[in-house]
């Protein structure tokens, strides 16, 4: 089933959803948002794409197996927890780069919590994609 409406709207909506997902991921440490919600939004965009072009075509464009998203996400989250141990801080304690300013974003505050959130983001994407692609292929 290839509906023109879905294909066109996917083309329009996907970039917006993805941008929003990344914004949610970035602001997640102190404001509402975070890796989990960001990841779900991001997969919403991908699911729209799957509905538009079909799971087989979609998998050709993937540069990494969804299952590998899962494990790499877990590794990122784990390393965000373990890194502080090497500089004598507690497990999962936050490490921060010095703050700097960028034109649009304003003050940028990057540190290990963002890496942790990115890990969660990847895990969510990997999990939902695995499930959705399996269902789509079974249907």
């Amino acid at each position: 089933m290839h509906s023109v409406i879905i294909i066109l709207s996917a083309r329009l909506l996907c970039p917006i959803l993805m941008a929003m997902a990344i914004a949610f991921l970035y602001r997640g440490h102190n404001d509402p948002g975070g890796g989990f919600i960001g990841g779900l939004l991001f997969t919403a965009a991908l699911i729209l794409k799957i509905l538009a072009i079909g799971a087989e075509e979609f998998e050709k464009h993937l540069w990494m197996q969804p299952k590998n998203f899962l494990s790499s996400g877990l590794i990122m989250a784990a390393s965000a927890g373990i890194m502080p141990l090497f500089v004598g801080k507690a497990f999962l304690e936050s490490l921060w780069f010095p703050t700097f300013t960028l034109p649009i974003l304003g003050k940028v505050h990057i540190g290990s919590p963002l890496l942790f959130d990115l890990g969660v983001f990847m895990v969510v994407i990997g999990f939902v994609l695995t499930v959705v692609i399996d269902f789509e292929e079974a249907a």
Partner: protein, 498 residues
């Protein structure tokens, strides 16, 4: 790095590495074996530290204890960590040969390590909500392990297991929510402190019962044990033995922890309630077991009746009773795992575990039969094996507390246990192979060392626990005294907060 973190991080990192090398079974096997050895060493190290320096506390993320999540190890937790390390190593070695390569390649090793991380996490956490999270880590991995192989009866067992365990999680979460709403804290030491000051009967009893039902489901107490015989005999033997040895015992651990620290059992009503549950669990469990004819089913239902003894020890709430419960826990983990490992060998040799279809094992392999007899009689409580001392201590505590009904039912249950074990012995080992059944399994010859080494090792442990039991029992007594004086625990955790 704090020794408290290692039992969590080692299985976690091992699980991650295993997912990275999902193509090569060889690499996954060696990673898991190395991790299991490290895990055991780290737990021993922690036990040493706790014995020499007292209760260990670690604050995650550098937050104060009542704000962040604290990891706490007292003697009881570290004893449990050591035994977990031991069992995980032994079962891992056994599973290398017992499980087919096809099953092993279905993410067995990552899940095994995640399961170990969940079990260890439940033992070291000092935070009630975090305990829930570790339960979930453990359950999620166990769901998949239980359904591994996708046979119809496995799926049936797994569905029962999943449903009842999710229900128990809801109860636990509700209890934690009520406690949080009333005391404003999730840290167990902090909660214990605040509850000791409060006299709110409704709060105490409602949450205590919610926790009791939740942990009761997880550890298969009397009215809520039917999921266990329905599911434990279905997965591959290595997985059943891991579950039989460890998973229900995590429920018992949680029970002993909450009912010594947060709701000490020395108020009348709750204690009587525990007595009744303990008796019913022991008696109903052992009677159900006596009516079974499949070795693994008999053993699974026996888990229930053994759990009754541990609850009995806890319910008495004397140092001897709780020390007995801990010693019983150790003995039961070793013996129960070992008996399941035996059933795996019988399954390999005879192709079935149904007592009506097998026989003549003594003639084929007297050495193996003797090993089995040692473990079976240890479970039944024949001196001088470990089960005798475990039962003796718990029943002595009951006699000291003048609870003769408990004492009597404990003794009676011991006799019926002996009957069940003799039944397995007579049917599987002494009786001739029934003529209408072939009794031929996939591997009738000598078993590989990966299968026999764990069995021999655990039997030696059972024997050693019986003969040099005093050494270990002394540690159990120390642990029980620590559990009965929660001020030490509270001071260790809350002292870090300042």
């Amino acid at each position: 790095m704090s020794p408290l973190l290692l039992p969590l991080l080692v299985p976690f990192i091992a699980a991650l590495c295993c997912t990275l090398f999902s193509k090569s079974l060889k690499v996954q096997r060696s990673i898991s074996l190395i991790a299991a050895v490290f895990h055991l060493a780290a737990s021993f190290n922690l036990l040493q530290n706790v014995r020499s320096e007292g209760i260990q506390v670690y604050l995650n993320g550098g937050w104060a204890a009542n704000i962040g999540i604290a990891l706490v190890a007292d003697l009881f937790s570290s004893i449990m960590l050591v035994i977990t390390g031991l069992i995980s190593l032994v079962v891992l070695i056994y599973s290398l040969k017992e499980m087919s390569d096809k099953l092993q390649s279905r993410a067995y090793f990552p899940l095994f390590n995640f399961l170990m991380m969940g079990v260890n996490g439940s033992f070291v956490t000092g935070d009630i909500f975090n305990l829930y999270v570790w339960f979930e880590v453990m359950l999620l991995s166990s769901f998949i392990l239980l359904a591994m192989g996708k046979k119809p009866d496995q799926l049936e067992g797994a569905i029962k297991y999943v449903t009842i365990n999710l229900f128990s999680s809801i109860l636990f979460l509700s209890g934690a929510a009520i406690i949080y709403a009333k005391t404003g804290s999730l840290n167990m030491a902090d909660i214990a402190m605040r509850i000791a000051e409060s006299s709110d009967e409704k709060l105490l009893n409602s949450t205590a019962i919610l926790f009791l039902s939740s942990f009761g489901i997880k550890s298969a107490l009397f009215p809520m044990f039917l999921w266990l015989p329905a599911s434990y005999h279905t997965p591959p033997v290595s997985i059943s033995s891991l579950f039989a040895g460890l998973l229900t015992k995590v429920g018992i651990y949680a029970m002993i922890r909450t009912f010594t620290l947060i709701f000490p059992l020395n108020n009348g009503l709750l204690q009587e309630f525990f007595y009744v549950i303990a008796i019913l669990t022991m008696v109903v469990g052992v009677l159900c077991a006596a009516s079974q004819f499949e070795i693994r089913k008999i053993l699974s239902v026996h888990i229930v009746s053994q759990i009754g003894y541990m609850i009995l020890g806890l319910a008495l709430f004397t140092p001897l009773g709780i020390a007995g419960a801990i010693f019983y826990l150790l003995h039961n983990i070793i013996v129960k795992t070992n008996l399941f490992l035996f059933s795996g060998v019988i399954l390999r040799k005879k192709g079935s575990c149904d007592l009506k279809k097998i026989g003549g094992l003594y003639k084929v392999n007297p050495g193996f039969a003797t090993l089995f007899a040692l473990s079976a009689f240890a479970l039944a409580g024949v001196p001088p094996l470990s089960g005798f001392w475990a039962k003796f201590v718990v029943l002595k505590a009951a006699a000291d507390a003048h609870e003769y009904l408990l004492l009597g039912s404990g003794l009676a249950v011991g006799v019926v246990t002996l009957f069940s074990m003799t039944k397995i012995w007579a049917e599987a080992f002494w009786k001739k192979q029934p003529e209408e059944y072939p009794g031929v399994g996939e591997d009738t010859g000598n078993q590989p060392w990966q299968i026999m080494l764990p069995i021999v090792f655990l039997t030696i442990c059972t024997f050693a626990l019986g003969i040099w039991g005093e050494l270990i029992f002394n540690i159990c007594v120390e642990a029980a005294e620590q559990l009965l004086n929660p001020t030490e625990y509270i001071n260790a955790v809350m002292g870090e907060a300042k």
